[in-house]
Symmetry: none
Subunit: 211 residues, 4 copies
C-alpha cells in the first residue's frame, strides 16, 4: 500500500473512501507509467494491494476508473490553480501567471501530465474547464483594453494548443524556463501584443511571482 495524492486526501474518511482512493492512485500511477490503454485491472489491484475482484466493488468497469482518474487529476490541477490566482486583477498578468503556474503544476507531477495530455481529445470536461477559465481572463483583458481580439471558442482553443504543445515538449525534453516564457509571449502576441510589449509584460508579470 503506497502513499498517493488521492489517498492522502481521503485520510480520515470512511474505509470505503480510502479504498477507492487507493485504486484511483494506483490507476493514475499506472497510466503515467504505461499509458491509458496498457493499464490492466489486475495491475491496478495489485498495485493497490488487493484482490482483483475487489475492483468491481468500487467501479462498474474499466472505463469508469480511467474516466474518474482523469477527472480527479483535472480537478486537482484546477483547484491548485485557483488557489494561486486569487489576488491578481490585471488581465495580461493573470494570463501569464496562469500559463506559467499551469505548466509548472503539471510538470511537477509527471503522472498528471501524462493523463492530461492523453485526454486532451478524449476528455471534453477538462478542455472546457480550462477554456472557461481562460475565457474569463481574456474577456477581462478586452474590457481593460489590453487585448486586441474577438473572443471565440476557436481563439481559446488556439491558445490552449500553444500551452499543450509547450507541455508536451517540456515533458519529453525536460522542464525549460525559457520555453515557458516563450509560450507566454506567444500567447500575448496572439492577443495582439507587439513582440516588444509581450516580452516586457511577461518579464514584469513573472517578477512578482513567488514560484
Amino acid at each position: 500500500m503506497q502513499a498517493g495524492h488521492f489517498r492522502d486526501q481521503a485520510t480520515g474518511a470512511g474505509k470505503r473512501e480510502r479504498t477507492r482512493a487507493a485504486l484511483l492512485d494506483a490507476t493514475v500511477q499506472l497510466i503515467a507509467e504505461k499509458g491509458m490503454e496498457a493499464v490492466k485491472i489486475n495491475d491496478i489491484t495489485t498495485a493497490a494491494g488487493m484482490a482483483n475482484g475487489t475492483f468491481y466493488n468500487y467501479f462498474n468497469d474499466k472505463d469508469e476508473v480511467l474516466r474518474e482518474a482523469a477527472y480527479s487529476v483535472a480537478s486537482a490541477v484546477s483547484q491548485q490553480l485557483d488557489r494561486e490566482m486569487k489576488a491578481i486583477t490585471d488581465a495580461p498578468t493573470r494570463v501569464v501567471r496562469a500559463t506559467k503556474n499551469f505548466i509548472s503544476i503539471i510538470l511537477q507531477k509527471p503522472e498528471w501530465a501524462f493523463i492530461l495530455l492523453e485526454n486532451k481529445h478524449t476528455l471534453p470536461g477538462l478542455r472546457d474547464d480550462v477554456a472557461q477559465y481562460l475565457q474569463a481572463d481574456i474577456e477581462l483583458g478586452v474590457a481593460q483594453n489590453k487585448f486586441d481580439v474577438t473572443v471565440t471558442p476557436f481563439l481559446l482553443q488556439q491558445i490552449i494548443a500553444l500551452v499543450g504543445a509547450a507541455i508536451t515538449i517540456q515533458f519529453e525534453a525536460g522542464s525549460n524556463e525559457t520555453q515557458t516564457h516563450e509560450v507566454c509571449e506567444n500567447i500575448l502576441r496572439l492577443l495582439g501584443f507587439s513582440p516588444t510589449k509581450a516580452r516586457k509584460q511577461v518579464a514584469s508579470a513573472i517578477e512578482g511571482d513567488a514560484n
Copy 2:
C-alpha cells in the same frame, strides 16, 4: 471491393501491387472510422474483400500496415502540397498559402485527417517533415526582414500546434473558412505581425489563390 486513393494509383500495375493498395486503402478507411488501435486484421481483409491470411502475404504484422498507411498518407499530402507551392517566393505569402492548402487538403479527405492527427506524436517522420518545410519558409521571412522571431524548434512546434488545433476543430465541427483565415493571422501574429498587418497580409495572400 471499393475504390480508394492507393488502389487508383495502382491501376494498371501488377496484381500484387493492386492487392497491396487495396489493403492499404482499407486500412486507411478503418483508421478513419475507428482509430488506429481499434483496427483488426480481420476488419482490414474483410473490407478489402479477401481472406484473413492474405494480409500476411503483404505485410509482416499489424504494426507494419499501420505504419505504412500513415506514411503513405503523409507522403501523398506532402506531394500535393509541394505541387501547389512551387511558384511562390514571398515568405509571408508562402506561410499563409501553405497553411491554407494544408488544411484544405486534409479536410477534403477526412480519413487522412484522422491518420495525421493520430500520428502527430507517434510518427516522427511526419512531424519533422512538416517542421522542416515550415522552417525553410520562416527563415526565408527572417532574411526578407518580414518576421520578428528567432527560429527555434520550439517556435516551429508552437506554429504546428496552432494548425493542428485548427484542423481538429474543423474536423469535428465542419470546415470553416473564417477559422482558416484566423489561424493564418495567428501564425503571423506569432511571427511578429501586428493584428492589422496580419489581417491584410492574409487577405492579399489568399486573393491570389485559385482554390
Copy 3:
C-alpha cells in the same frame, strides 16, 4: 475430471494446488497419447474439464507446462527409485537392481515412459540426474574392484543408451522380463564382466528383490 498421479498427491491441498495438479495430469496424459509437440492448450484444458483461459492462471505458456510435466515425472520416478535402493551396498547388485527397478517403474506408467523417452535429449536435468546416480554406483564398483572400466561421461551415456533402448522396445512390444535381464547382463559386460559372471550376478541380484 479424471484421477491422476499429481491430482492424487494434491488431495487435501488447496483448490489452487488441485487445479494445477489436474492440468499437469492432463498434460502428462496427452503427451503420452500424442507426443509433446502435438499437445494443444485446448486439449489440456478440455481434458482437465475447464475453460481454455484457466490454463493461463497457472502457467505462463505452453513451454512451461511441458517442462514442468517432464520435470514432475522425472522427479517422481527418481523419488520412487531412491526409496527402493536405500539398503543395497554391493555395487554390481546396485547397478542391476537400479536398472531393473527403473525399467519396471517406467513401464508401469506408460505415460511416464513417453515423456522420459521424448525428453532424453531435451531435458538436460533428467539425463544428468540419472547419470550422476549411475556414476556413483559405478565408481563404487571400481573401488570395490568389481568393474574393469575408466569412468567417463561417455561410458555413462553408453550405459544409459542401453537402458533407453530396452525401455523403448518394451514400451512398443510389451514388458518382457527376459529382456530386462539381458540389459542388465549387457551393462555388466560393458563394465568388464565375462558373459558367465554377468549372468550369475544378474540372477543373484534379482533373487533378493521383492518386485
Copy 4:
C-alpha cells in the same frame, strides 16, 4: 541454385529428376539447420530457387518429402558403407570397421547425422536396414566362434543404441577418435569379448583401415 548430393547424382538425368533432386537437397539441408518440424514448404522452394507451388508438382505433401529425404540419406549412407566393407571377412573386424566407418560417414555430413538421429524412432526402414546388416555380421561371428551371444532383435537394438549414443555425443561435442574406439570395444564386450581382447581386436581391425 546450390550444389548438393542428390542433385549431383541426378546430373544428366531428365529435368524432372533434377528438379526433384534439388528439392530433396534443399529439404535435407533445412532439416539439418532447423530440425524436421521447423521445415516449411516455402523454405524448401525458396532454397531450391523456385516458386512454392512447384513443390506440389513433385511431392504430394510435406510428409512425403520428409520421408523421402530421410530415406534417401539412409540409402546413400548404406551404399557408401557397402562399398567400403566388401573385402572384409573376419566377423569381429567387420563389426569394428562397420561401426567406425558408419560413424565417420555420418559425422562428415552433419546434415545427414541430424536426419538419421531425428528419425531413429520414426523411420522404421532405416533402423531395420542397419539391423539386418549388423545381424549378418554377428551371425557370421557366432559361426566363426568369435562371439558369445544369442542373436536376437533385442541384442541388435542394444548395439545400435550404443552407436547412436556415440554419434549423438560426437555430433554435439565434436568428432572424437577415442570415443569411436570405445564404442567398438563396448560392442565387442557386449558380444562376449573380455576387456583385454576387445582392446586388441579394435586396435588390429583399425590398423588395416585407410580412413
